[in-house]
Each structure stands twice: as C-alpha cells, then as structure tokens.
Symmetry: C2
Subunit: 296 residues, 2 copies
Amino acid sequence: MKVIRTIEELRAEIRNRRSKEASPVGLVPTMGYLHEGHASLMQRAREMTGTVVLSIFVNPIQFGPGEDFETYPRDEERDLAVAESNGVDIVFIPDVSEMYPQPTKTKVAVSELTSLLCGASRPGHFDGVTTVVNKLFNIVKPDFAFFGMKDAQQVAVIEQMVRDLNIDVEIVPCPIVREADGLALSSRNVYLKPEEREQALVLSKSLQTALEQLENGSVTTAGEVRTLLNNIISEAPIADIDYAEVLTFPELKPIDNETKVSDTGSAVILALAVRFGRTRLIDNVLFQLKEGISHV
Amino acid sequence: MKVIRTIEELRAEIRNRRSKEASPVGLVPTMGYLHEGHASLMQRAREMTGTVVLSIFVNPIQFGPGEDFETYPRDEERDLAVAESNGVDIVFIPDVSEMYPQPTKTKVAVSELTSLLCGASRPGHFDGVTTVVNKLFNIVKPDFAFFGMKDAQQVAVIEQMVRDLNIDVEIVPCPIVREADGLALSSRNVYLKPEEREQALVLSKSLQTALEQLENGSVTTAGEVRTLLNNIISEAPIADIDYAEVLTFPELKPIDNETKVSDTGSAVILALAVRFGRTRLIDNVLFQLKEGISHV
C-alpha cells in the first residue's frame, strides 16, 4: 500500500498503474477516522476494481462557521492500518494547502436537491462536498466511486452532479453499516456521551418501526409516517429533531402528508437528522413499496 | 473527418483513437459560424496534438434573457467545410437535448474574475460558459484545449476553473485574429451594418493608439489610458461604450487611475466592450510594460 500526499505523485502513480494493467480504478473518498462503514466501501471497491484509491481529507469548505472542522476526529495511524487490512492500494492523504493552495474561486453547486434536509441546516455544505468530490474525480479519474448510503442526500447530489456534468464515473452507493444494536456507524459517534449514545438508538428504532408499520398497513400516508417518526424519537428526552422527512429518492421531493406512501410509485426514503447534546446524527432507510416492501 | 452528434459515440471514437496511438487529444470548443480566428485555433491544435476535436454548440445557458441565443448565426455546412480544410479529425455537433437532456441543476461558477467586464454586463454568462466547458472537458478529456484571446476574460476564468478544480488539461490561449483594417474577427461581425462596421474600427484603433502612447510615454497612468480610450472610441458617433478598462492579467484587477501602468509589474490588459447599434463587440490588447513594451 502506498501513502501519497501530493496530487502530482498520485497522478503519476495512477498513470503508471493504468499503463501496466487495463483494470478499472476505484475511489473511496472519506474524511478519515475510518469505521466498518468505510471498510465496507473499500471491500466493495476491492471486489470491483484493480486499483483501490482511498482518499482521506477533512475538507474545510464543507464545514460551516461554528461546525466541527477543527475538532473533527482524526487518527492517521489507525486509518492507515484499516486501509491496509482492507486491501487498499493507494491512500491519498493531502493536507489543506495541497488541495487549496489558494482559496478556491470555483464552486460546483447543485441546486434544488441541496435546498432541504441537511442542505437547509448546513448552508453551503453541499457546495463544499460537490466541489471537493469534483476535484478528487479530476485528480484520480476513477472508473467507480464508492459512497455510503448513510449520507443518502450526498449520494443523490453527487449522482446529479455526475449526470449534469457528464463525468465519466459510475457512482456505487453502498448500504449503511450498523452497530449490533442498530446505531448507524459514523465517525461522529465518538462524540456521544454514554447517555446520548443510548438515546441515539431511537433513530434506527423509529425508522425500523415506521417501515414495519408501512409494511403491515398500520400507517399508510406520509403524514402518519412523519407523526410516527416524531413520536418515537421524542421518547428520547434529549433528542432534538432537525428533520424527520419522507421523500422520493433520488429526486428528494417531500411526499405530501395526505399522500399514501405506496402511491408514489417510486423509491422512498425516510430521512432523519437529530441532535443529541452537541452531536448531530443522521440516519435513513430507503425502500420501494409495492406488494409488501422491498428494500432498495 | 468524422461528424458526431452524440456523447456516447464521441466517447467511443476518442477511446478508440487513444487505444491506437498515444498522441494527445486537442479540443477546440466553439459556437460555430467559424472564421479565421477559429481556424487559427484548429491549426494550433493540429500542430500540437494527434487528435483534433472541434465542438460546435451554441450553448443556451450562457445567453441571458434578451440576448441573441435564437438569432446567433449558424451555418453547419460551411462550418464542416472550414473544419475539414483545417485538418480537424472529429467535429462534435450535439443538439441542445443531447447536452441538456434535463435542465441542469449543476453549475460550475468562478467568483471574483466574473464580477466585472463582460460578467457585469451579462449576469450568469460566465457560469454558463464554465459549466459547458466543464461538461466538454469531461466528455472529450482533452490534453490541450484551445481558446482565442479575443475572449480574454473567458480565458482567465477558464484557467482559474482548471486550476481550482484540478482539471488535467492545458489551456492554450491563441492570439486575436484581425481583418486587414484591424477589426477583431467575431461571428457577431455579421450583424454589423456598413456604417457600424466602419465605425467599429475605433476599437482596434483606440487600443493601438493607447499602446503606442504608453510605449512612447505620452500617457503613463491607467486614468490617462482610460481617458484616451474613451476619447478615441467616442469619435465614432454611434459607439456606445459598455466598458473601457485597464487591468492586470490574468487576475483582472482594475488598475487605479493614479497608478502608472508600468508600475504594476505584471501583464496588463486593455479591454473594451462597445455597442454599435444592436451589436456588442469586444476587443483587447495584452502586454507587459518593462523597458518598452513587449506583447504577451
């Protein structure tokens, strides 16, 4: 496994590997502090491609003022060990001055899809994400890029960017990885105090319950689902709900309260963002309602 | 010469040519209605690359409401003959639905450099340019891309985008091509009535005079140059000045009226936009003042 810190060296290494073998290049873009969710992306990339590039970069321009850019957890040594043990070929770990030698005057921005959910709570966040992902795509020129579905809105936004800008890459969304008790893995889980960690289980619990009740017909409309999600989450006294939404995917159009979820005829996502103390967690479930539920 | 109208076919053709020979690919992006200025770009591309791709696409999203998108001159048959006779390998001539099957939600935008000159007069214009050029770069993946210096601000903006987004292409700016009497070639010159065509000569005349007077020391400060440009252009009764500016290049920082142009220590551009009747023309001259003037 090679650890590379400059764009020039990374380009040379990828060019060199491409000249030797025709197999595809896979990119797993991360902000590091790697967990089993990231590992599942690396494993999928390992299965699908001949060269697996893992990027680790805490991207300042996707953090707003007052967000956790400075304190975002970092552990390079552990990350490199995780990468190595998951078969990564190249770890690209640039510092901020390598990615932004000057403050960028150029932004890549996706409209509409970014105006709601996390985009509403974190103004400018997705412009920062699409800009850095565009840069990484231009540097690595991957054939496949792997993203976790925990950040489902991010996946929808990046797929929109790829389509609109004719980027020659295939986005591979990968399923959410959870702890045994249901909590979705996140680098930010490390922030949680024991009480917060316990109460955070209402996220996966509320999603699972909503899915079951949609399946057995106890709830049918989007409004009923919203109420159910809010009620279950509110059982946790410290949970502070940012949003609990029911939308089509990947269009991210909110479904009217009166509309039956099964009548949308498209994939549906239940998406949550909830604060526990100072930590904001997100979770979601994506499914297609037909006769019974099939998970997407 | 191949004439290709779909992205898929273009990608396959370029992939095929790249697999056969290692020589670089050059892209000449145009809006068609080709003239000798475009021909000079094709010739430069022919010298520097093994595969010359000419794109012809009147890009709707770089035209504002009330601008000339609908009436912009088009002549495919003549354009193909010009391309053929200048050694182009592939003409890519997509229709609007091929480039924008859905209205794009994604925009690539460069700030600061686009807030003045043509960017001030044509809001959104440069976002449309950078977005479509980004798409063309993603489709063609050229090693070199050729742009005319008549659109000097466009060159500065695109070079900024390429740097900020780490696009792996070298921009090759090519000199302005002029009629024998000095008028810079432009597809929009076809709009000019005889009287307008005659008076439009004040553009190149004013630039040439300013350059001479800077050279011989008759004018020294940016304010004097502005006055000179405005005075000469105003000799044409129908000339309606949009801007006559003195700036550093490629930063496009206006030079203060009181500052001596020779004191900036950087390349300097005199840039004009002037309306003659309903036609807006631009022209510029780029130079470096040291001991005497050296044209850039």
